[in-house]
């Protein structure tokens, strides 16, 4: 059995599809426990029994659609008009625009490709140092992960809901909990941008109402969207799944019929592309439902908790170990696989140490956000290296200061629970 597990790990590291790895480990465990293997199929079918899950395909498609339109340009134009007057204006514009865009598109690398292509040359032209620009864009690719309606926040809510805990966690809770930690990250990075460019960075331009008016006019159809979606969710007018449907319909109408930037002919391709990602995520979620079923049946979280408890008595030490573990995990695994695999194991243990499930979710995602650009394998490092045609080694170096700043933010988020929980009154 240990040999089999080892073989699976090696296969996973060699690039075997993760869903096959998880499915085979689940089947092997059920087989050893003399449980009929059709239980794996029954668990997979539970994908059809999660009402909130529909938000995943819908938001993913909406995000892809936005990425295909000229919404990124308009977003930059608008943030530029609003924030460009500040010192290091363009850097701040980049950070804010990227965070916003990532929240709406899910951190799947779209931000670097869609916004990075606009911002990188602009930053260069404005005289910012090259490595600063590269680091900024690469880091921004996952900034905004903690803001609604990002996919990982939704997925965490879904996973916790189907675990049937005593303490409930809704997706809405996660949306609210992410606000302050997300803002903290954003503000720290803005501070860094101001510091690095304190001598050179001049404001892009003076604040001008006519620019704001022009930018608002250009994006007049997209402007209501965040208010409808976020307002709808935060006021409880829409369930998350409904908000997802409204977003898709709204984005479809605006980009296809009003701005006409995505043609009807091109639409099926965008649908297909986005659903490939959804399929890849859902099949992993499905087979991990089966492996989780085994894990819980065999009482593994409790056993793990008892073992860890012998060595780690304080909550603080546990949190430190958790941070180290999640940083490594985030560099190795993509955020979606990490969520579906680790949350069922980690959450019961964290609850044992008295950590709020909402807080754990924010800690987990904040660490994973860092993992996107943790050397040597963070995904966004490679996307940026490919996109801007720079060696990966240069990106390692360029992102390093950003990494430490966000690491600092992650530590604050981890050891200061109220930052995540106060808005919820938990």
């Amino acid at each position: 059995m240990i040999l089999f597990g080892l073989a699976l790990i090696i296969l996973a590291l060699l690039g075997a599809p993760l869903f096959a790895i998880i499915a085979s480990s689940a089947m092997a465990n059920f087989y050893m426990a003399d449980i009929d293997l059709s239980v794996v199929a029954i668990e997979l079918y539970r994908l059809a029994e999660m009402p909130a899950l529909i938000a995943l395909p819908l938001f993913t498609f909406a995000g892809y659609l936005l990425g295909e339109s000229k919404a990124p340009q308009r977003l930059v134009q608008l943030t530029d008009a609003l924030l460009g007057w500040m010192p290091a204006g363009l850097a701040i514009v980049s950070l804010a625009a990227c965070a916003f865009f990532t929240a709406f598109t899910g951190a799947s690398g779209v931000t670097i490709i869609a916004l990075g292509a606009l911002l990188y040359p602009a930053l260069k032209q404005a005289g910012y140092p090259e490595n600063f620009n590269l680091g900024l864009i690469t880091t921004s690719g996952s900034l905004g992960l903690l803001f609604a309606p990002s996919l990982p926040l939704i997925l965490y809510g879904i996973i916790v809901q189907q675990m049937n805990l005593d303490q409930s966690v809704t997706i809405d809770d996660m949306f609210i909990a992410g606000i302050l930690p997300g803002l903290l990250m954003l503000l720290l990075l803005i501070g860094w941008a101001l510091y690095v460019n304190r001598k050179t960075a001049r404001p892009l331009q003076k604040f001008a109402w006519h620019k704001v008016r022009a930018a608002v006019r250009a994006s007049i159809w997209e402007l209501p969207m965040p208010f409808i979606v976020l307002g709808g969710i935060y006021t409880g007018f829409f369930a998350v799944s409904e908000a997802a449907a409204v977003t898709v319909l709204y984005v479809l109408i605006v980009e296809v019929f009003v701005y006409k930037e995505v043609s009807l002919k091109h639409l099926p391709e965008v649908m297909r592309d986005s659903m490939i990602l959804v399929g890849a995520i859902l099949i992993i979620l499905g087979v991990s439902l089966a492996s989780t079923n085994y894990v819980i049946d065999a009482d593994i979280p409790t056993k793990l908790f008892n073992t860890i408890k012998e060595f780690v008595s304080s909550k603080l030490t546990f949190l430190i170990l958790l941070n180290i573990f999640l940083l490594i995990l985030g560099a190795l695994l993509d955020i979606f696989s990490a969520l579906v695999l680790m949350i069922p194991l980690l959450l019961p243990i964290a609850l044992g140490y008295g950590i709020d499930p909402v807080h754990l979710g924010i800690i987990f995602l904040a660490n994973m956000q860092l993992g996107y650009f943790t050397p040597p394998v963070g995904m966004n490092l490679f996307i940026a290296s490919h996109r801007f045609n720079k060696p990966v080694m240069q990106l390692y170096k360029a992102t390093l200061p950003f990494f430490f700043i966000l690491l600092f933010a992650v530590l604050i988020i981890t050891y200061w629970p109220s930052l995540s929980l106060s808005l919820l009154g938990r």
Partner: protein, 170 residues
Amino acid sequence: MSQAPNNQGNRLLQIIARIEDTLLVLMLSAMIILAGLQIIMRNVFQSGFTETDSLLRILVLWVGMIGAIVASRERRHISIDILTRYLSVNARRYVDVIINMFVVIVCGLLATHSLRMLLVDYAGATIAFSRVPTWLLESILPVAFCIITLRYMMFSWQSIVALIKARGQA
């Protein structure tokens, strides 16, 4: 897709790919339209259909599984890609064969056992909602895993051919 035995085989693969893509797009469109209607029904007419809710949830499963089929075809499944970067071209050929055959075995098993689940529900004539039998809704699982298995059988064959060719040249 370059290793297809002949032109006809190639065309067949293209047709299958077209069908998969079309189904995927249709399912997502249905999902968007139904979800939109449901909101209108609920907020304007104060009445939602529970059937629509069930249908939407089934559509999520179907979109997911068909998406997984297409992801298999385009080799876009999520995987950890750490070691492969450092492997030699030659070692990578061996690894390809092993991984493709591994997926064939796993998906073959998944297809078999989801078919067994389907047969149980077929024999029991269980109803999911309205008059829709459960087995019909479940059918996407064995079908999808069958197609993924076949797809990876093809990949396995291609990777074995590539390996043999490379060894022949060495």
